[in-house]
Symmetry: D3
Subunit: 149 residues, 6 copies
């Protein structure tokens, strides 16, 4: 795990990176149901799902979010920390066997209201499946040090 200091000034609006991809397997859903206790039939009951709109089991929203975010964890920025997420939306279902990856785009930058040496960088996350369809979006808020602070 590499460490790279990336200050508020280093983030450029519109800059974008694409993560590696992961296939969401039946095992992933079983493990996620087990970790969260979310045993909703939409995720663990194949018979129930035959009669739903999608006709099959779908990944938990929290699984899509966890993997979509996890795939972005490629280097450590010691001068920033995660603040939260806004506008998290599940656009399309993720099915067993779908392969997802994330595109991260710097979509906003603003000064921190109270702390002059800090800024808020917004990373727009777009999680896509193997067909290029967007399955999830979210705005990740990163609190960053300013370089000369």
């Amino acid at each position: 795990m590499d460490e790279k200091a990336c200050y508020f000034e280093d983030y450029q609006l519109g800059d974008s990176r694409t993560t590696g991809a992961k296939t969401i397997t039946e095992a992933d859903i079983v493990i996620h149901a087990g970790q969260t206790g979310d045993f909703f039939p939409h995720h663990i009951d194949a018979e129930f799902c035959k009669n739903t709109e999608f006709g099959q089991r779908i990944a938990h929203g929290t699984l899509t979010f966890s993997v979509g975010v996890g795939l972005t964890a490629s280097f450590i920025n010691p001068v920033a920390f995660s603040y939260g997420y806004d506008h998290l939306r599940f656009i399309k279902p993720v099915f067993i066997g779908d392969t997802i990856h994330t595109v991260v785009t710097i979509s906003d930058k603003k000064d921190h209201k109270k702390r002059a040496n800090m800024g808020i960088v917004t990373e727009h996350l777009e999680v896509l499946n193997q067909k290029g369809e967007t399955v999830m979006v979210a705005d990740h808020l990163l609190m960053c040090q300013k370089r000369d602070a």
Copy 2:
């Protein structure tokens, strides 16, 4: 898993429920790192963490979110579906051995702009630890059918 139809009209502003609780164990963090590929040292490297602000490993934000949301999955509402989350914020770290639960409060209701038979219910989620400290908040958006639609 019980099923109970809960229409837009059935949700009352200010209504609140408290979920069961789960202790976040070292095993949970190991499994979550494995599921997401997020091997950041803040979660899996106890030596690194000795020199951080907290002095110990912390749960992934996505783990706190997944468990905090999973604990609310107690009954199926066939006339509603999850739309997304707003204003997800990580307020305090969750450490190994902390026990978290979630308080769900109906905080907003509004008509759907385009679909007359639907409304948006906002569930405010507050995840608390065993000391009663809020560790995470989020607004869950639920799209619900109206009763007479």
Copy 3:
């Protein structure tokens, strides 16, 4: 997890409830083999199984039992505790992809021989697959407080 006091007197012979269902996946068998150390080829060796009566891998009996019982864990009864099981029988094999649920029926009630304030309630468990076939039965013994004890 809701808590509801259910006393000896509250259980009615013949009362019945049906749990949610869970699909038994290949991942469940892999995880169960790992947890128990039961690496019998009937569960983990697909080639060996081609030459067995069933032609495919089957779930461990302990897995069917654990899930069949686990699905009944929907509310906490603070005035009762599990005493054991009688007449546990594996009727039919559970295959990968089968979806099982449990029907719980109150089949017997009797006073505790030594403790006047307690009674034994028998819950008959019947685990069924998606075809409605019974795959497992067991009698669950519940030691319950009497209401006016």
Copy 4:
């Protein structure tokens, strides 16, 4: 995994074997809760457990049973199959860190009522912890071929 044909006649009343042992870890309980969906606070909520009779989390009964039985899975008997269990009783709780093993004793043999070439062998299972205390017992019913059948 060795295979050894062991016929009805080969089982001797009173014969006994002792399995290897396994420490029941916090991870085992987390994984078992996940596999079964049994999120009862007795197993996953350390805070709740502080106020119980035992003062700490306990293993699921189904976990003790699954591991206690799994430890006996040391060789394959192609002329017998598992029929079920009788008189399964949880005698003492199993705590995180307890190490359990199983003693298997041939406690009964009888002819099969309908099939002249088969017999029923009862293996009495006794699961013990590291203090030598019995934590679980069960009678395992094994349907065996007779040698000259």
Copy 5:
């Protein structure tokens, strides 16, 4: 788990044993990726793999090694310990659904250079798939006590 003292003199050149087999499932690869953090697309990205030489996901080399060695863990030899491995080679890929087992052959014996009471036994491990193809080989070095030492 049986214990059996097997001294240096007891190992005979050319002696061979065959282990049980295990099917390598998608779940095994998911769990192994999670345990090691090796999220290479060759193992977890089914779309990427469509364009590789093999056209599908393959097991991690470390998974094949871990299972191939694990299958040999059938009895404890209290007078020997594992020293290491030489000449570990991955001959063919292991795909999801392949079933592997290990053949262990005593291929070399020599005195320990410095300790007169010890010898080095080489176990040649050959891991084969269900087609009888060798997928991995390695030489396991076992340091053994001499009987009359």
Copy 6:
């Protein structure tokens, strides 16, 4: 997961890189025992281990190897593939709570005997614990394309 073509000529003798670190938890050992079926008491029986040389459970050699290698999986080299390992040695035990990382040093380069366009690069892996002690070594053989081949 970044991709970076690294040809035979690009590897320089003596070049070295240090990976991130991972704490080996009790959960990791439980999961590894489950994945491999290696239920040797040295890994899963805390009581047995009290009477061993080390007084406590130790990680499986295959776990140390899998994690030590997995930590090096940081970028994809499309012009090389893993050939095998030589001289894998377990130097010191890894205990629950130890934190390990890997130092990779280019220790040898040679032409491939039969294929003029390929070379063999040896990466010496040294796995160290939090005290700086070497717990494992191995020589990783990488078959690489030559740049102008």
